[in-house]
Symmetry: C2
Subunit: 174 residues, 2 copies
């Protein structure tokens, strides 16, 4: 089977998202166009990971998540991640590595996400966008394994679990 | 802040997805409407987990994922999961429990996903939908931790990592 569609037509082009209907042989697929995104497991030298709690309009509730953001046009994922972590959380510096890269919902959306660990970050002044209402929440790294039930976001679960795998003493339940 | 939008207008209604623009105070949010979904970590008595490899048109490549599917109208998540596991993989029976429930992409999409573990499932005949081209892949549970780099799908990473947390001997790298 070819890895290009036979045809594609745009049904919606918005500020963040688009929607395309592609024909692949006998099948029509509705695909959400998305510029890609990043999330960061940011840990400071005191052993705290920083999370953000914010209203997520699609869920109609406030959710606790890793700091994250959407790529600007032409921006490299690591640059997006450093920019978002500074803007949302005021965290800079640190040693960075990629934990994973994945599609968030490959059945219907073009969003690809890179997740980073940033260790030894330094606290400074955040500068969130005007439409963001962010509460910063800090957990001790050693608390994470016992509090995963508070997380209702896929990238946050995946990112924290990947990070914990490298800390064997923190992976056992409770 | 209210947890209902001030207004909402539908921009697209398709076969699987819809797109709504909601106004929340000063902000407009583009939101993908989705009926919700499930994924299953299905393990048989021989110690194999069943994964599916299929073309994911948004990614334009074949991806290795947990068996998963979309809720039919009015269907309970556990019923969706049992149905999809039988249809995609021919797996029935087993002991079921919920590993997690989360939003897949709460910044822009209404999809909520339930992830189950099903242990002791029995192999039978699959009956995939006509538009599905699925390859079944079996990994030993003990292999999973060393092969996570082959996974490029968020729900699959989260589901497998949650399952591994309950198997301490399998969580250390390599």
């Amino acid at each position: 089977m070819s890895l290009e569609p036979d045809s594609a037509r745009s049904m919606y082009e918005g500020a963040l998202l688009g929607l395309t209907v592609e024909r692949w042989g006998e099948n029509e697929r509705e695909i959400v166009e998305h510029p890609g995104a990043v999330a960061i497991v940011a840990v400071d030298d005191d052993g705290y990971v920083t999370l953000v709690r914010q209203l997520r309009e699609p869920a109609r509730k406030r959710l606790l998540e890793l700091p994250a953001g959407t790529a600007e046009p032409g921006e490299e994922p690591l640059a997006t991640a450093r920019r978002e972590l500074q803007e949302e959380c005021g965290l800079t510096g640190g040693e960075w590595r990629e934990l994973a890269a994945f599609w968030t919902t490959p059945g219907f959306c073009r969003e690809r996400m890179h997740v980073y660990a940033a260790e030894g970050v330094e606290r400074g002044e955040a500068s969130p966008a005007a439409d963001e209402d962010l509460e910063l929440v800090r957990w001790r790294v050693m608390e994470i394994a016992g509090r995963l039930e508070e997380i209702e976001d896929a990238k946050t679960l995946a990112g924290l679990l990947l990070y914990l795998r490298e800390l064997p003493q923190a992976t056992s339940p409770g």
